[in-house]
């Protein structure tokens, strides 16, 4: 009896110390890919994992500091509109699984569960940005599409923040061009946009398909980075700076027209976003839409209005070169 009385507080103390230690661990990174022209990333872990790989370059390895940080790879049906059950619904379910300590299809799991005090950062590329906007903007019972096809409320409760790279928050003028079938010079990277399929139709830049028309402000902050390296042919069809698939107005979730022209100096600041809150600029990079997700171009990074870089203790002036050789995966690795 005596020993049990001693044991209980001791176990509680040990559990508390363990939880406190884990709470201070590095966040688990959850990777959400972008638009696809087939269902491979949904049906095959290898495809979902390889989305982030190009030869010997591996975005996930770099962002996780050679896997020192735990991670989870989400695979959803990237041919479906951002709001559907096989896209937003699947992503939401997988994120909750990750936060419960469940493994992805490749056996990767977050080291610390949400119940144990873990923190989770979602890293989303391209259409993954619109998927996350929809989930995080419909997490509350008062939101228009609350828990439409998955546990959006649990996702919002459990993730700490999201980072999007080349996020299609306001759609893509690349999608417009493909659906217009008008200009053969607009040669987009085939793996992202090949035809005006359902997902592409819902990634156009007009108001009737915009995620903001069907969502509220995100319940957790979505941090924005993206590229300005042009792609021959494709960039000629996009307005302002772009990464060859998505224009700045969308990458940086700007309010107003999704086709407005922006560059590193004048891209919308944190108070001029598509929602009144929940979007924040990080920086811009001389990478194209492909590079942004496979760490294959270690290049210049630039400060943008309201971004995260400081120069001599104050925010760097927009368009200042802040790094001469750093890819987006390396950038993410210095954020945590």
């Amino acid at each position: 009896m005596m020993s049990r009385r001693l044991m209980v507080p001791l176990l509680v103390a040990v559990a508390f110390l363990a939880a406190a230690g884990q709470a201070a661990a590095q966040p688990c990174l959850i990777f959400v890919h972008g638009k696809q022209t087939n269902t491979n990333t949904f049906t095959s872990y290898a495809s979902a994992r390889n989305y982030w790989v190009n030869g010997s370059n591996d975005f996930i390895r770099t962002a996780t500091k050679s896997f020192a940080t735990s991670f989870y790879v989400v695979g959803y049906n990237g041919t479906r509109p951002y709001w559907e059950s096989q896209s937003a619904g699947e992503v939401a379910n997988e994120i909750v699984n990750a936060t419960n300590g469940g493994a992805d299809a490749g056996g990767n799991r977050c080291r610390t569960t949400f119940a144990q005090g873990g923190t989770f950062w979602v890293i989303a590329h391209s259409m993954g940005g619109a998927v996350m906007d929809f989930i995080l903007g419909n997490n509350d019972a008062s939101d228009p599409n609350f828990n439409l096809n998955g546990p959006y409320d649990q996702v919002a409760q459990r993730i700490s923040l999201a980072i999007t790279t080349g996020g299609a928050h306001r759609g893509s003028q690349g999608a417009d061009a493909v659906c217009l079938q008008a200009n053969p010079l607009c040669s987009f990277i085939a793996i992202f946009i090949q035809s005006c399929d359902d997902a592409t139709f819902w990634l156009r830049s007009s108001d009737d398909v915009q995620v903001r028309t069907f969502s509220n402000a995100p319940a957790r902050t979505v941090n924005l980075t993206g590229g300005y390296e042009a792609i021959f042919g494709a960039s000629a069809c996009l307005t302002g700076e772009d990464d060859g698939v998505v224009q700045y107005a969308s990458i940086f979730a700007c309010g107003g027209s999704a086709t407005a022209s922006y560059d590193n100096s004048n891209v919308c600041g944190n108070s001029s976003k598509q929602e009144t809150s929940g979007f924040r600029n990080l920086d811009a990079t001389h990478e194209n839409h492909d590079d942004e997700r496979n760490a294959s171009d270690t290049d210049v990074r630039k400060a943008i209005p309201g971004g995260i870089w400081t120069c001599g203790g104050v925010p760097c002036a927009p368009n200042t070169t802040v790094q001469s050789a750093m890819n987006t995966a390396q950038f993410i690795a210095i954020l945590y």
Partner: protein, 336 residues
């Protein structure tokens, strides 16, 4: 700066400010700070900053989709609809203009549009005119207009539609742009009856809706000060059976203290939508729906809401930030 193909090397050589850095733990620390700020309000009610636009109105204001020619060549073709969403039975008014340095320019042979559904099927064709006949506002002003009459839309399912527009320039070149509109058949409407009250120091405005078909309904509204400034937004959603019901919007009292505004308040914009399926069916925006009684500021609650989930997120992020700062300090001596 625009279209940077081939100058990557030059950019890599650009000077990097010596002190450009992302401070350790900064992202986690700033996000935590933001969450503590958000936590002061419930998720269904948000305060607006002084000078901030009405977000309910913003989301219902159509934006222009603009496309230039190859390599950013002017003139650009801009297309837009009169509204983001048209209710069944309404005519759909569409607009387009060719612009060079912001000024309208002539088209050789008028503008033509196609209405395309998600499968790519062309459901209708429209001819744009600039002759001053409704819906065109002024003959020869360079803004071309087209109207889809309700009879032409009778067989359209409620959905998102793409508007594909082409214009032939004076020099024979072609310009094309893609816009769109939502065609809605809402299952409820606002009756025009409102009532206001105070509950627990919050302003509650109830709006009566008449429901024709069982479904889920979302209501969002912006409250304005007596001087006409938007002060805050509130939203609510409910599953309702056919018949008349009241939906309540609760404006958290603290927002009136922060903006130092007493009543009477004006319900400036009100947006109802039917949300049990995607795309949601949007009712027309109602403006200046209701003016409340002259509530005193002292009647409003002044305490922070303290949303527990956000505060928990903030706490965990602060631990993340502390850990990152500690690790940076530990690394620093090793690097010297």
């Amino acid at each position: 700066m625009k279209k940077t193909i081939g100058i990557a090397t030059m950019m890599a050589m650009a000077a990097v400010p010596l002190m450009a850095q992302v401070e350790a733990g900064k992202l986690a620390r700033e996000t935590a700070k933001e969450y503590r700020e958000w936590a002061r309000y419930p998720e269904s009610s948000k305060a607006l900053r002084q000078g901030e636009a009405d977000p309910v109105k913003e989301k219902r204001m159509p934006t222009r989709q603009t496309r230039r020619g190859p390599d950013d060549a002017e003139p650009a073709l801009s297309v837009w609809a009169a509204k983001v969403s048209f209710e069944k039975g309404q005519a759909v008014d569409l607009f387009a203009s060719l612009e060079e340095r912001g000024k309208a320019v002539a088209a050789r042979a008028g503008l033509a549009g196609e209405i395309v559904d998600v499968t790519g099927a062309i459901l209708a064709e429209v001819a744009y005119r600039d002759d001053g006949q409704a819906p065109d506002r002024r003959a020869g002003d360079g803004v071309w207009s087209a109207r889809l009459e309700p009879s032409a839309l009778a067989s359209f399912p409620t959905a998102s539609y793409m508007v594909r527009v082409q214009a032939r320039l004076e020099n024979g070149d072609l310009r094309s742009a893609a816009g769109g509109f939502l065609y809605s058949d809402p299952s409820a409407r606002l009756t025009g009856r409102y009532r206001d009250s105070l509950r627990d120091g919050n302003l509650v405005i109830a709006a009566e809706v008449e429901v024709a078909e069982t479904g889920r309904f979302h209501l969002a509204g912006t409250i304005y000060s007596p001087s006409g400034e938007p002060v805050g937004v509130a939203q609510a959603a409910a599953n309702l059976e056919p018949g008349r019901h009241w939906i309540e919007l609760s404006y958290y009292g603290l927002m009136f203290h922060e903006r130092k505004v007493a009543g009477p308040y004006r319900l400036g914009t009100l947006a109802l939508s039917t949300t049990h399926r995607m795309p949601n069916a949007l009712n027309d925006l109602v403006e200046n729906a209701h003016v409340t009684r002259a509530y005193r500021l002292g009647q409003m609650r002044q305490t922070s809401f303290e949303r527990p989930q956000l505060l928990e997120s903030a706490k965990r992020l602060e631990l993340d930030a502390e850990r990152a700062e500690r690790e940076a300090r530990e690394r620093a001596p090793q690097q010297q």
